[in-house]
């Protein structure tokens, strides 16, 4: 097997056991990129020489942390100094920030090799970048973490950073058939990540297994005794159609209902969750709150001469934000506080609640897809994970999303690992 096919945790183990070197792993990823990236277009910047040099020095030194020698991709909304950071925007063509984002320094400190920068939509908003879905080049990989999801799915890199404000980790991960994890709001520092909406922006990871998500967490936060943190009780699963169930494509409806049934038959015990009628307003609240904050974060980009370099969709997002009043913002913040408490109550008896990840398969490449099944979880700030689970009518990947109560990320990931094992065991 080519080393680029190893999952992140397999790669860490293989390097630790000296079964593969960092140079071999990185070279295999670069070869895969050379072979595939003219079609997939997941990367904006790779300095091949520097990356191989970094890998070589990892091979020469004693292991320094949980990512020793392993390549990681950095979404280009995140500041790097050694590689340009363009935020998917013409305004920042060739831009070199003066400081490196904390998350980049942290993975370096954990021993990672920064493979390169991955494509983001313009400012993590709506204008798609050039990236294609590796499963069908005429389909979107999703956005805004387009390059990260496509590169991980295409075995070009075992792990990459994503960020989510609406649905920018979960949606692309689901469309590309990989594991996406959006942590509880505020867990991971956004230092050096260009803000979109401060009440929603969340840094997270795209990998190919749930185990890999634990590894990325430990690189950023430190070692966690996760299995010991919780009683090894049977997971308590919920199934929640959300107020937006009617937006699902048939394949999603079928996948979720079938998964709920089969999980239940396999002894997981799945309970249906119903929700307060007010939850139907959460997607609209998310859109307004996001627009309000985005407008105020993008004052300098909206001024000339920058404005004429902005995509029409970005301009419109900013202009919409200026139509939301400060009073409305304040009211939304208070209502959001209440909704967060309501969800905590609703979710109290569950370790993980299964919800749709996307409408259906990845749509054509012109858009990045609809975040209808992501907005409310970003708004509530709760942890969310998508697992690849089956294929749609066109043979494209489908995801199943699991969400949990705020700050119960480890338990959620643990349950997702159980479900992942069960999915691999051949049901579904």
């Amino acid at each position: 097997m080519n080393p680029n096919m190893l999952s992140l945790s397999e790669a860490v183990e293989a390097i630790g056991a000296r079964k593969v070197t960092s140079v071999e792993l990185v070279q295999a990823c670069l070869d895969r990129i050379d072979e595939r990236d003219s079609g997939v277009k997941a990367w904006t910047q790779i300095d091949r020489k520097a990356v191989l040099e970094e890998a070589r020095s990892r091979d020469d030194e004693a292991p320094v942390g949980p990512l020793h020698g392993v390549p990681v991709g950095i979404k280009d909304i995140i500041d790097t100094v050694h590689l340009p950071t363009e935020y998917g925007s013409q305004i920042y063509r060739g831009y070199r920030p003066g400081r490196e984002a904390a998350c980049v320094s942290l993975v370096r400190r954990a021993g990672a090799v920064i493979l390169g920068k991955t494509v983001t939509t313009e400012f993590a908003m709506f204008r798609p970048g050039p990236t294609a879905n590796p499963h069908a080049l005429d389909r979107t990989p999703g956005g805004s973490s387009s390059g990260s999801a496509a590169a991980v799915a295409d075995f070009q890199v075992p792990a990459a950073f994503g960020t989510q404000t609406a649905g920018s980790i979960i949606r692309p991960a689901a469309f590309c058939g990989v594991v996406g994890y959006k942590p509880s709001f505020g867990t991971l520092s956004l230092d050096g990540v260009k803000p979109l909406a401060q009440t929603l922006d969340t840094l997270g990871f795209i990998t190919r297994t749930v185990r890999d998500q634990f590894v990325m967490r430990s690189a950023l936060l430190g070692a966690e005794r996760n299995p010991a943190l919780f009683a090894q009780t049977k997971p308590r699963l919920g199934f929640f159609q959300t107020p937006f169930w009617s937006a699902t494509a048939p394949e999603t409806r079928q996948l979720l209902e079938q998964t709920a049934r089969q999980l239940s038959e396999s002894g997981f015990g799945v309970e249906e969750v119903t929700c307060p009628a007010s939850f139907g307003n959460l997607n609209e609240m998310h859109a307004n709150l996001m627009a309000f904050e985005t407008a105020r974060n993008y004052v300098s980009e909206y001024e000339e001469p920058n404005r004429s370099l902005l995509d029409e969709r970005s301009r419109q997002a900013i202009e919409t934000g200026w139509t939301v009043s400060a009073d409305d913002y304040q009211t939304m913040r208070v209502e959001l506080g209440q909704a967060r408490l309501q969800f905590a109550e609703l979710a109290r008896d569950f370790d993980a609640i299964m919800v749709p990840a996307t409408v259906g398969e990845a749509p054509p490449i012109e858009s990045t897809g609809d975040p209808v099944f992501n907005r409310m979880w970003s708004l509530l700030g709760v942890p969310a994970v998508t697992l690849p689970a089956g294929r749609g009518p066109n043979g494209l990947p489908l995801g199943v999303q699991f969400v949990g109560r705020y700050d119960t990320d480890l338990r959620l990931l643990q349950v997702c690992e159980d479900v992942e094992r069960w999915l691999a065991g051949g049901k579904g």
Copy 2:
């Protein structure tokens, strides 16, 4: 009266009524700085020529926003492009960020003239900058927003940005005898503000009146119909000694008890608040949580060759943070969620709760003072305001702090304006 003596709202009105020009106001501030700053040392960067040119162009154009023509000071933990941004650190000597912080762009958009950068402690941590307390040059102005508080108190500028992670707005504002406001966590974007601890960092303002705080809010968020938002009911005041009452100096104890009594006699109706015993742990939780996040935000500054340019106190703060485990962090986050709910319950019947702002008067200049009465409010994320209220045994200003429930900032400010009026009316 020299125009630099005008409060922010008076200045806005005077410029609007063409009673004073922006150039006259800015020149008066610059004259005051020339006269006083060799002693007070509040500023790190002022480009006099550029500032006057900006003021001149404000005078030549129609008013564009609520701060038209008025100078504002920017704490040097906040990124500016036209002036160096040094974060109070040797590492960033002469550093020019590539992007301007959102809050700077927003006050510009509101018509403000950026007067200059104000002194911060190193990375808003513990090493004091050169700034002195304008009321006694051998005393600290407090930290970390040292220059902002001193400059506003000394009539060098009518308003300045501060940031608070432990007590960095409220403490210096109280020590300098001005109004400090730390908004509810997350209200104002931290884009371009160097992160210290993402669960705590908050942008706010230092001004000379409460009215001015409304003006600064409106510049960043948009116009607010604040008085109409709430029924004009009598304010419901609480008096809360906090679990740390024994740390107060006699002058603080006396000031708060007397103020509570006199407010009560004046018909405000003040009720004593008692709190769960667990609140005694909040300051320690704050310190550990802050250290954990700081360490992970300061990886690149802690690496050589930067490390040798770090102050010993900053190094120690970072090293302490690495001794806090990820498991402890997760546990603290969950406990914090519970404490926030407990405080919301406790504060439910109050519009504002009076608490100590500081231990006592500003201590000697070697330290920036103790944040013992600030940590828990930063941790809880609730809004806090300090009002100047009397003098201590050495004739130095004392503040009284008012805190409110999360996201009730407008009501809190409104009540503080009532109390400010009452204080000016000659009691206390």
